[in-house]
């Protein structure tokens, strides 16, 4: 049997479906959000109360800081603040 017969090619193509709308675009915006993320991290390092608010409710604290709380921004901040 040929390794890549047409039935197999079709089955493999079906495996790689596009992610739901908006996921890829959100990840692509990371470089644009970098300045905002850096400013939140710097503020959290200088202001214990702000850091506590971030830890308690990241999404709300980010919004209150005037930054759009997109999934990619929140993931980056969890990574930076968690030190993981």
């Amino acid at each position: 049997m040929t390794r890549f017969d047409e039935e197999r090619i079709a089955r493999l193509l079906r495996l790689l479906q596009p992610p739901p709308h908006g996921w890829t675009e959100a990840a692509q915006e990371l470089p644009l959000a970098r300045a905002a993320i850096d400013s939140i991290v710097a503020r959290a390092e200088a202001d214990a109360a702000f850091r506590a608010r971030l830890v308690a409710d990241l999404e709300t604290a980010v919004r209150d800081a005037g930054v759009e709380a997109t999934p990619s921004v929140l993931a980056s901040l969890r990574l930076r603040l968690g030190g993981d």
Binding site: L13, Q17, P19, A75
Partner: protein
């Protein structure tokens, strides 16, 4: 324009090329999504958390990648680890071994997803119009009618074009192996 290799793409990202990050996310977004949703069967909410976490970590740690050619296995391993973490966090009982958390066929599915990436690379090499018609039919699950409308071609020719494009892709893949 020729498609960059993975290593070239990583080098461009490191050099601050504004378009390179978009291209890297585009190249690996289906890969990461497939690992989350098909190999580990995460629900949409958990899959999105892992998806964004993977790219946040890739963006933050791209400078630490030792072998630029190995970006795909690196992303694959990272995604797998974060999927296991997500499954572990969702358990109420005591922490379990990774092997207990992974679906029984995860390794087999991951192997197929890696092979599928090879097929996608072949599809990129075949180029348009085959790339779009095969992607619409197989990966996006669009009907003949929807494809005919989108590509402005007669509905009756869609099946034969898919068949011809599959043969072309097969020849491309056989030429690589």
């Amino acid at each position: 324009m020729a498609t960059s290799t993975d290593a070239q793409l990583v080098a461009r990202c490191r050099a601050g090329d504004a378009d390179a990050w978009n291209e890297l996310v585009e190249r690996f977004s289906r890969y990461v999504y497939a690992i989350c949703s098909q190999a580990f069967r995460l629900g949409p909410h958990d899959a999105e958390d892992v998806f964004q976490d993977v790219f946040a970590r890739v963006y933050a740690n791209l400078d630490t990648l030792r072998d630029d050619d190995a970006v795909r296995p690196w992303i694959g391993q990272l995604t797998r680890r974060l999927c296991i973490d997500k499954l572990r966090a969702g358990r109420r009982e005591s922490p379990a071994d990774a092997a207990d958390l992974e679906p029984a066929d995860a390794d087999e599915t991951l192997g197929s997803i890696d092979e599928a990436m090879t097929v996608r690379a072949g599809l990129d090499a075949v180029g348009e119009p085959c790339r779009e018609i095969l992607d619409r039919f197989f990966a996006r699950d669009e009907s003949y009618r929807a494809i005919a409308g989108a590509l402005d071609i007669p509905s009756g020719t869609v099946a034969s074009r898919i068949s011809r494009c599959l043969a072309k892709l097969r020849a491309e893949l056989e030429g690589r192996s």
